[in-house]
């Protein structure tokens, strides 16, 4: 065997592939750009929209003439509801709760699902089989019934607990918590329902990753299991997790709206897109249809969910090289 001792020092980055970054590929997709614009707009309007409108438009009006005004009447862009409240203001406020529940619920799902999937996949063997059968069992439970029961059972004690612990709190936002009891329960229960898919996906990917040699290499170095999970497995799952986070948010928003529509969602003092839809639906009668109460909240909600789903699909396509053209 002839040996040349030529140094490879010169062309270190020669092997660097000239593929465009994932962000660049992502921004070339019209659907993704559209989604980002929609989500940015909805987010900004949820935060700042209410303060852009004249003060007091969101308060119930004693003037009967303000009731059920159609769109554009008296400066109400989207009209008013039964209590004379400006619908645009209500949609903005509703976006706050809906997006808050969606995002926090998805984060709970992300945390539980990722941890569960990581551990199950990493342990493998019998432990993995048992953990995944549990996921199958939970999948088989009708989740709405599960949520209904959980909300009903937990609400009373949880409200008491919040009242006992936070009413005397130093921070004003903690003192507000008891009023958000049902919203908090909703976030937790929806998060605890939606983690199943995340756990399955993460576990599947861990099964693939843990057989790669860099995991064996980490073991041969004497690395702890915890560090192997957090440093070697988790960073290689980040793309996947981002995709399923964006796809879980719309699912949670939809669940929340549906529960609120049934009157089981957020506390009555708060408005979400679901409660707006419920109000709109109850205002329909054979004599006069107040269509705007149903159409506008539904349109905004659909647009947001569509944007989130587009974004999630776009991310998935970009991160999965097999689907990249």
């Amino acid at each position: 065997m002839t040996a040349t001792a030529s140094s490879p020092k010169e062309n270190v980055s020669a092997a660097a592939r000239a593929t465009p970054s994932a962000t660049a590929v992502l921004l070339r997709r019209p659907a993704v750009v559209f989604s980002l614009v929609v989500l940015g707009l909805v987010g900004l309007l949820a935060l700042f929209g209410p303060s852009l409108l004249p003060t007091g438009v969101g308060e119930p009006s004693r003037d009967n003439a303000e009731q059920f005004l159609p769109p554009l009447a008296h400066g109400h862009l989207l009209g008013t509801d039964l209590n004379g409240r400006d619908l645009l203001y209500r949609v903005f406020i509703g976006a706050r709760i809906s997006l808050l529940v969606g995002l926090s619920g998805a984060l709970v799902a992300l945390f539980v699902g990722t941890s569960y999937g990581l551990i199950s996949g990493y342990l493998g063997g019998r432990a993995d089989a048992v953990m995944m059968r549990l996921v199958d069992v939970l999948y088989a439970i009708p989740r709405l019934i599960f949520i209904l029961i959980l909300v009903t059972v937990v609400e009373g004690p949880f409200r008491q607990w919040l009242g006992a612990h936070f009413v005397g709190s130093r921070w004003s936002f903690l003192r507000e918590l008891p009023a958000y009891t049902k919203t908090l329960i909703l976030i937790l229960t929806l998060g605890l329902i939606e983690w199943l898919t995340m756990a399955r996906i993460v576990r599947g990917q861990v099964l693939v990753l843990k057989n790669l040699q860099f995991i064996t290499a980490a073991r041969s170095l004497g690395q702890t299991h915890f560090k192997i999970l957090t440093r070697h497995l988790l960073p290689n799952l980040s793309g996947l997790i981002a995709v399923y986070l964006t796809l879980t948010i719309p699912a949670v928003v939809l669940d929340e709206s549906f529960l609120s529509f049934l009157g089981l969602g957020v506390d009555p003092s708060q408005a979400s897109w679901g409660t707006l839809l419920a109000d709109g639906a109850s205002a329909i009668n054979p004599i006069r249809s107040h269509w705007w109460l149903l159409v506008f909240p539904a349109a905004v909600m659909s647009l947001t969910l569509l944007a989130l789903n587009f974004l999630g699909d776009g991310l998935r396509d970009v991160l999965d090289p097999r689907s990249r053209k």
Binding site: M1, A3, P8, V12, R17, T216, A217, S220, L221, P235
Partner: protein, 261 residues
């Protein structure tokens, strides 16, 4: 330095177990290289992994292996961890053996964090620079990601990582078989240079008999999990005793005999 007695490795399988390695005994002396050759599935890699306790959970390993007079197969992972500093491994696939999300500096420093945890950042950085230089990479490589390097360069990174905690014994699991021929020569020479400089002991697993002949002092031939021939490299290549070894040599030399299996 390392003696193995009656090593047996069996993997659980449907309806019993598959014995991948059966009654294998050999020794490796300090400062030498022992080659382990055989066709795919003959149990070479399994032996290497079993000696470093990297076999999958549920694998049944029996027999004895003494590293510097100390039995290692029966040790628990906790008891074995301090020895991991002294026994390292270089992996076959340079593309899968480096975490794609870690920078090279952090990859090479990982053994230092584990085994030299009392070191501060500067000591670690200096050691990483020294290691990169030793394997023929520029110090700037530390800030890059593995995908920016070619196969041969990645294998150098893997070697630097294995060397970081100053091991004495290294299992080289087909370290060049995934590389181009021209790059293979560079890596083989690097391994030889490092052996002389650092007084390393290698267990070199390979199926390329030319590479094994070039590197090894002693060669073990494995077939279906059994050791069928063991001889000093020069003797084995000049006068192979077993017909199977002759077949292997003929196949490697481009002869007409085919290797069974």
């Amino acid at each position: 330095m390392l003696t193995v007695h009656h090593l047996r490795v069996a993997f659980p399988a449907r309806g019993g177990a598959i014995t991948a390695v059966n009654d294998v005994s050999f020794g490796v002396e300090r400062g030498t290289t022992v080659g382990l050759v055989g066709e795919s599935g003959s149990g070479k890699t399994t032996i290497g992994r079993a000696l470093l306790k990297l076999h999958p959970a549920g694998t049944h390993v029996s027999g004895e292996a003494f590293f510097e007079g100390r039995e290692i197969l029966a040790l628990s992972e906790r008891e074995f961890r301090p020895l991991r500093r002294r026994m390292q491994m270089i992996f076959q696939d340079p593309f899968n053996s480096l975490n794609p999300r870690q920078r090279v500096g952090s990859i090479v420093a990982e053994p230092l964090e584990i085994h030299c945890s009392e070191w501060d950042k500067n000591q670690r950085r200096a050691r990483v620079a020294e290691l990169l230089d030793q394997v023929g990479l520029p110090a700037a490589a530390a800030h890059r990601f593995p995908h920016e390097f070619s196969g041969g360069q990645r294998q150098r990174i893997g070697i630097a990582r294995a060397l970081a905690a100053r091991p004495e014994f290294i299992v080289c699991d087909e370290p060049v078989s995934a590389l181009d021929v021209s790059v293979q020569a560079q890596i083989v020479n690097l391994l030889q240079d490092l052996q002389t400089q650092l007084g390393l002991t290698y267990l070199f697993i390979g199926h390329d008999l030319a590479v094994v002949e070039h590197l090894c002092d002693h060669v073990l031939v494995l077939r279906r999990g059994r050791l069928i021939e063991s001889a000093p490299a020069a003797e084995l290549y000049a006068h192979p005793r077993e017909p199977y070894t002759r077949e292997l040599l003929a196949a490697a030399g481009g002869g007409e005999l085919r290797v069974e299996g």
